[in-house]
């Protein structure tokens, strides 16, 4: 029953979006560009330590952190945009040391619903420079994200999106017992300019 209620709610929310799609005119074409300024909280989800038993650590000891970034994308056709994103993430654990991460990623977005209301879906892949206490680590970085945008003018829009980050920490030496996956969920508000 609960699942059905959730499905109905999701459909109710998305209905206007697809209604908008029915009347929308294709917004983009090859060569269109989009600049985005993004910021929001990041919720730590869990760590996964491959060599631990249990491997799954849901209490990461991290507090909700913050993220800010700039993104630039150019359209390769009417629905697909590719580009890059440079960001800065920070979060405090239980002590006063600070975790920071500077991800630089290649981002590809698919925008199947376009117009005043848009539904961007993005995938990112790159690397991140992570620092904590006396340690630093250059890692791979992967992200996935879905958002809901509202363009209040032809050029300017605001987007709320939820996503998932994967930050692997891989060791091959004596520290291989610390090989792990960091999993996070950013909730981001974006301001976009398109032309």
């Amino acid at each position: 029953m609960k699942r059905i209620t959730i499905m109905v709610l999701i459909l109710a929310v998305l209905a206007p979006v697809f209604a908008a799609d029915a009347t929308a005119i294709g917004q983009y074409q090859m060569g269109s560009q989009m600049f985005t300024f993004r910021a929001g909280p990041v919720i730590p989800l869990f760590f996964y330590f491959f060599n631990d038993n249990p491997s799954f650590v849901s209490d990461t000891h991290l507090k909700t952190g913050g993220y800010g970034s700039i993104r630039y994308q150019g359209f390769t056709n009417s629905q697909i945009a590719i580009g890059g994103e440079l960001g800065y993430y920070f979060a405090y654990p239980r002590n006063d040391d600070l975790l920071t991460s500077v991800p630089l990623q290649f981002v590809a977005s698919w925008i199947p619903v376009q117009g005043t209301i848009e539904l961007p879906i993005s995938l990112g892949l790159g690397f991140a420079y992570n620092s904590f206490a006396q340690s630093s680590y250059l890692s791979m970085f992967a992200s996935a994200e879905i958002g809901l945008s509202w363009y209040f003018t032809d050029q300017w829009g605001i987007t709320v999106s939820a996503g998932y980050w994967l930050i692997p920490e891989i060791y091959t030496d004596a520290k291989r017992i610390d090989t792990s996956l960091g999993n996070f969920s950013p909730i981001v508000v974006s301001i976009s300019y398109r032309n």
């Binding site: 002590n95 975790l99 904590f132 006396q134 680590y137 610390d178 792990s180």
Partner: protein
């Protein structure tokens, strides 16, 4: 060609990534998963445990007791503590700064109700141990001669240490249950800048430790027969004390931040092994010199480089290990065979 370039780019990033992560610390996510809240009393040295009550010396708040999540200051705030120790019977003793007229300390002993009682001891104490009441002091009649005392006793256990040592010496204690009335004095030879001497005192009788150990000893164990000595440079020596052998293939590393200038904190477990915190794991050294790295059991949640242990208190009756840390207050390991660490 394009696919090859992409593959090469990915491999390059991976190589750079691995190359940037060679250090002695644990992985970042491992460190984070072990972080604990920092206490506001500064670095804490655990002196004694009395049931649910803990006695500790802190860098910011002085001499404290801790019970039911409450820190209570025990010394007069107007007189900073210069020396502190627990006696061999776990009574807490402290000495405020020396009297500018006589240059000597007045020692106070806390009675059962934590009320300081002045002791009839008048001397300048300049080195004390944490748990077994050992003290090196100059008497008020001489500011050049120094002797070894215990439990605020009036008569010295050993005299004329100034004839053997310079004043920059270290005092390493050992639990009475492991070897009664045993303490090691280690330091530079009198009037020397590069020759080290080490004296093992057992019940007041001195034995010269093998002179081949030409480095500061920062940790040791002795069970009446076998001695282990760990030097400042991380070398391990084993033998009977007078004759020691260096383990040539072993160099240990341990965190020194916050405890520089003191012996490293150690405890001797129920099997007689000397145990202490290394840079990334715990080390256990058996009386025969066998060194074992401990990354599991109690070390699982305690070996993080986030924690720097300042002091241990091992309860041989219950098998519980207690400790003080630089930032995170006190902890308790209920069972050394398990991985539970309770932060107090």
């Amino acid at each position: 060609m394009k696919r090859t370039l992409i593959l090469a780019a990915i491999l390059s990033i991976l190589a750079i990534s691995l190359g940037c992560n060679i250090d002695a610390q644990e992985g970042i996510f491992r460190q984070i998963s072990k972080t604990e809240a920092e206490v506001k009393v500064g670095s804490v040295e655990l002196l004694a445990v009395d049931g649910t009550k803990y006695y500790a010396m802190s860098t910011l708040m002085g001499l404290l007791s801790y019970e039911n999540n409450i820190w209570t200051r025990l010394d007069p705030a107007t007189d900073p503590i210069a020396r502190v120790m627990a006696t061999s019977s776990d009574d807490i003793a402290y000495a405020p700064l020396s009297d500018p007229t006589t240059g000597t300390h007045t020692w106070y002993l806390l009675d059962g109700s934590d009320v300081p009682q002045a002791q009839a001891v008048s001397r300048f104490s300049f080195i004390t141990t944490l748990h077994e009441g050992w003290e090196i002091a100059k008497t008020d009649s001489s500011q050049t001669e120094f002797d070894l005392y215990r439990d605020l006793g009036g008569a010295p256990v050993a005299t004329d240490l100034e004839t053997m040592f310079s004043e920059n010496l270290w005092l390493l204690e050992i639990d009475d249950a492991v070897s009664a009335a045993t303490v090691l004095v280690s330091g530079l030879q009198k009037d020397s800048t590069d020759t080290y001497v080490h004296k093992l005192y057992v019940g007041g009788a001195a034995t010269s430790v093998d002179a081949d150990i030409q480095d500061q000893i920062v940790a040791f164990s002795y069970n009446g027969t076998d001695m282990i000595a760990v030097t400042k440079s991380g070398k391990v020596w084993y033998g009977d004390g007078t004759t020691m052998t260096e383990k040539a293939d072993t160099t240990l590393s341990f965190p020194t931040n916050g405890i520089a200038g003191k012996p490293i904190p150690t405890f001797i477990d129920a099997s007689g092994n000397l145990v202490f915190q290394g840079s990334s794991v715990f080390y256990s050294i058996a009386p025969n010199g066998t060194v074992t790295s401990i990354s599991d059991r109690f070390s699982t949640n305690l070996r993080s480089s986030s924690f720097k242990v300042t002091s241990y208190y091992f309860n041989r009756t219950t098998g519980a290990l207690y400790g003080g840390t630089v930032k995170n207050g006190l902890f308790k390991v209920p069972d050394l065979a398990g991985d539970t660490v309770d932060w107090l």
